[in-house]
Subunit: 723 residues, 2 copies
Amino acid sequence: MEAATIAATYPVSPFFGSPHSRPYVRGFRCFGLSIPLSRLFAASMKYRDHRRQVATRSSGERITAQPSSELRRKNTGGIGGSEDEKLRSLRALFSRPGIGIDAYIIPSQDAHQSEFIAECFMRRTYLTGFDGSAGTAVVTKDKAALWTDGRYFLQAEKQLGRDWILMRSGNIGVPTTTEWLNEVLPSGCKIGVDPFLFSYDTAEEMKAAVSKNNHELVFVYDCNLVDEIWRESRPKPPFKPIRVHDIKYAGVDVSSKLSTLRSELIEASCTATVISMLDEVAWLLNLRGSDVPHSPVFYSYLVVSYTSATLFVDANKVTEEVLVHLSKAGVQLRPYEAILSEIESLSDQGAKLLLDPSTVNAAIVNLFNSASNRHLHRSENKVKGNIGRGTHLESTTQKDAPVQVNGHNTLFKISPISLSKALKNEAEIKGMRNAHLRDAAALAEFWAWLEDAVHKNMNLTEAEVAQKLLEFRRKQFGFIDTSFETISGYGANGAIIHYRSNPDSCSIVGDKNLFLLDSGGQYVDGTTDITRTVHFGDPTARQKECFTRVLQGHIALDQAIFPERTPGFVLDVLARSSLWKIGLDYRHGTGHGVGAALNVHEGPQSISFRYGNMIALQMGMIVSNEPGYYEDHSFGIRIENLLHVKEEKVPNNFGGIRYLGFERLTFVPIQSKLVDCSLLSFAETKWYNEYHSEVWEKVSPLVEGAAQEWLWKNTRPLPLPQQ
Amino acid sequence: MEAATIAATYPVSPFFGSPHSRPYVRGFRCFGLSIPLSRLFAASMKYRDHRRQVATRSSGERITAQPSSELRRKNTGGIGGSEDEKLRSLRALFSRPGIGIDAYIIPSQDAHQSEFIAECFMRRTYLTGFDGSAGTAVVTKDKAALWTDGRYFLQAEKQLGRDWILMRSGNIGVPTTTEWLNEVLPSGCKIGVDPFLFSYDTAEEMKAAVSKNNHELVFVYDCNLVDEIWRESRPKPPFKPIRVHDIKYAGVDVSSKLSTLRSELIEASCTATVISMLDEVAWLLNLRGSDVPHSPVFYSYLVVSYTSATLFVDANKVTEEVLVHLSKAGVQLRPYEAILSEIESLSDQGAKLLLDPSTVNAAIVNLFNSASNRHLHRSENKVKGNIGRGTHLESTTQKDAPVQVNGHNTLFKISPISLSKALKNEAEIKGMRNAHLRDAAALAEFWAWLEDAVHKNMNLTEAEVAQKLLEFRRKQFGFIDTSFETISGYGANGAIIHYRSNPDSCSIVGDKNLFLLDSGGQYVDGTTDITRTVHFGDPTARQKECFTRVLQGHIALDQAIFPERTPGFVLDVLARSSLWKIGLDYRHGTGHGVGAALNVHEGPQSISFRYGNMIALQMGMIVSNEPGYYEDHSFGIRIENLLHVKEEKVPNNFGGIRYLGFERLTFVPIQSKLVDCSLLSFAETKWYNEYHSEVWEKVSPLVEGAAQEWLWKNTRPLPLPQQ
């Protein structure tokens, strides 16, 4: 049922690019197809796959993969009074001296465009009671509305109080947030936002959109209005210590990375850059943290100039070891909150900043631009001004201090870290290989256990199965966390691409239908992400045909060889054409980038039917290969391995360029019971058999007993076709 | 040798889109990859494939496929004095009263962005002596330079006089035409162009480019300066009668087509449109002409408003039958030259024009815009102005009469005819099918003859073979013309993608190497375009491997099934991936649109590795399927069929949309001798055998004797693989 709702939020065909898809921005917005601006709010700028999960864990605890029904209950019935009370308190702030706004927009984001965020930043969830991963709340003096997409219509209906209007994004006739504001507010209103929660690009688009009805977008720098009403009940910010990411896993030391970045700054004629993406900071400094679930990152900003590097972070998280590590690379420390005063001081020094407008928040960019501008004025007038967080409210359309957009003080450019981080070095690749083998061992143990449990009719729920998988992974060396919330979907639930099993009400995993399991681990040396679909009983011919066609797409992409400079989207059709032959398709991309012991979703590359991302697949990149097929109300199929882009030894080199291909990182059997051998070609059957022989060879030494027995049974070759 | 030169004009990888490739412009420019603006001049906006040929036939004669060495000799040694004399005369005109320019740009185009043009419009050829299909001449008061691309470097060196500088477009350090003008002219010069010979878009780009050195682009409306010096020796304009394209082939009558177009005008809130593409005029009016080689079109403009339609054409070409045909549809006639006064009168009437800026020339667009503007001023000032061809010289940057670009009087939009024409109706498809069968019969006869001739060592040249092919085609019902100049390339010549055999010096077709033959016919009911590559002796293992991989790409595209709304470029990889597997590729697109008894190259669709064209493949479109492989100095391979995009009966319809596939139109054997059966999969072998059984079934009744015997031998099945 939910899957049908999802379908309704898409345009009829998935083959229309998003009107807002921008080439060369890192990653892209999934679900950003039909309702541009509200979607910009609903989804972060970062890559979103079929696993946009709410981060539910208090970040101070050990993070587990256990779902979050508790949290939902806490949120809806917790401290803070009725929702009416929250809205009343929020509106009271509109007219507070120095604020003076007519509406306030509350997005889902934190200040770093993170995919998973700490609980203390879940302001939209706190205010509305709705805890789906995607949603934007807009509150005017007399109205309150929440936008979310088809995945969450039912959930939002249940969770929203009576004062809230549910805006079903993507349904015909439903306005975007800014269209709605243009409709419901009289011309010339002031619309407030927390400028930390919007990328500069997004804020600019909003500004233009609301200007159509002469509204002004007002950046409320002083405070976040939701935090003001949240007060004591607001969860504490994350405080777990940061750790050093060992050089044997990182491969390149911080000084070298900083040196490369500085060369790029010099080449771009910039004097400094502000890095706000948490995985970029972690990668550049060879540090890892535990501030949010699933991603080993920590809240911070990093400012790098020719001569200095300053990490803005809560000092409590910095251990002695980290301090030594940073000082060796000449990285100084300042408090997280000091970022704005640093921005001002950079402007005072006449810095020219390289900024990625799709990731750096509007607070930083606008402060720098207006401070630089004041600095210019000051130089002319010999008058000294003053500015800082907590001291002012900034109109985004002030006429006396025009913002120096992309002028001589700011170069807007995709972050140079994005590509460097995507091109894994040998140590990172080695770590990824090793982590994947241990992950495969955990999965062999898990699948052997689950098969047995199902056959013994133990009536385990999807959530219990996910929990058990976590236990198997935990036993492996270097395991830290799940890399996203496990998707454990039996039968019809498997057809819900973004399914999240509710422990209280989810299905029993049985032997009457397909079971789709998409999961991953964060290890000290690497990040995994794997999907397998199995049947513990007798699959139907229909299920076998669909599974086999998904497998054929998986094999075609896995086996692709392509010239350097080929963007990922060119290969997407290889994964779909076997399904297309019988009129089937799937409504998600085929591949996303994966970090090395970092975020499970990263850019800039992707393999997708959306054609906006022109970034080429390059040696050292990691991408997922995950075609699927989802039959509404019935079953879901996905087969996912991670691949490493490598040079391919080919007998020719037409054009004098390299030809690239993939090395498989994932080594877990693909259930033979689901393969309709009559559909496979000789070459496909050979691929299947060779893969399984490799799985046995690599993983069997890491397991024993029942798991090894299971692995043996599940790596037997298919008969070669006698056509 | 030439092929190496071609290679040098490309960027290292073909997987970089042209910086000037624009989505949604009809067709695209081949070879427009590396040197934007000079290429804009060198290549027309229309689709250019690997057969950009100079139209060499005097358009009054019966057009044959005989190459044009005579014409070249005439051009280089003909009337008109030495080349110095031509340049001297041209420069003398620069300072003529009312002109006053410092440089003049002479492109290859006619006023209609035609692929093949009448001899009287070959001004660049006349002026420079260089008769390659692509080239732009620029003459300043003391310099003269010609830009052409790698295909023509050697030819241009031979043909250009000593006063000409050869600009090797695409070579490193070679400036574009406008960059060069910015370099060699002192700031603030006037650069003249004939505004009829540039699309509005191109003229705008040039204007912006030369403004960098403060130059002004001056539209010389009065006359074409080359025509002024050409005088008596200039060939007469084409005068052959226009004929009615029978409704049984056209399928839809003119009134209905006009009615559809008027609905589109109303929908776009426009009152009229000017159609200048010759194939669009011919298609809309169900007329055909013989003004240029290879394309059955006639020089004309068509203006359609809500209530009227006026054809601007030389009255001498209009027969009584055509007159009756046109008047039935309410189409009036005016002289070709009257188009400008019509544009003025449209402006007087306050018309709002729908114009395609990529095809309509700058003369028309700018005249309309400035006339509309004067009209506005007039309305305000009650003062009457005057304008017309032959009366003024227009500065494109005049400040007192700013051009109303895309203002309330002009809507710039892709021509609505472009897509309507591409979506063939049942009658057109039927005509295409029938024409292809007769063409296949001619080819069976031809190949039977050629095989015999080669085995008898008759020492036929590539040009003689092409001539003989024309004779076989001529015997078929309804044959009118070749649809482009035949590419007949033996051995190393086959590796030159745009090869044109010179009768005086071309190769003998023998049995020691591959022979590539790309040709097509214009028939009364359809247009064909087919490439086959054969070997009359013993192919090498290398040739067989390359041929087989090209064949695998051909089969993969032929067999593709894809959802509605899929742009052609998505399928391009299917045709390349078999070559990529061994590090090979080809540097041209895989498919172009084809008209029904019209231009052999038409838009808006294409199947190409250039990703700019987002036009979806749609039911009723015709596309070519022509992967290839070219080994420099050695051999060339291409296998080309035409395909008709049709709905595919598939067992599912995921997304509630149609799934599309292809119907083959071309039925000529693909030489089995060149197939390495060990590389083909079972499914590919089956495709090959089924295709050949279909060829035999459809074509054998149309031939007899040796041709039928040849057809029988060449349609025998390959052994199915015993893998």
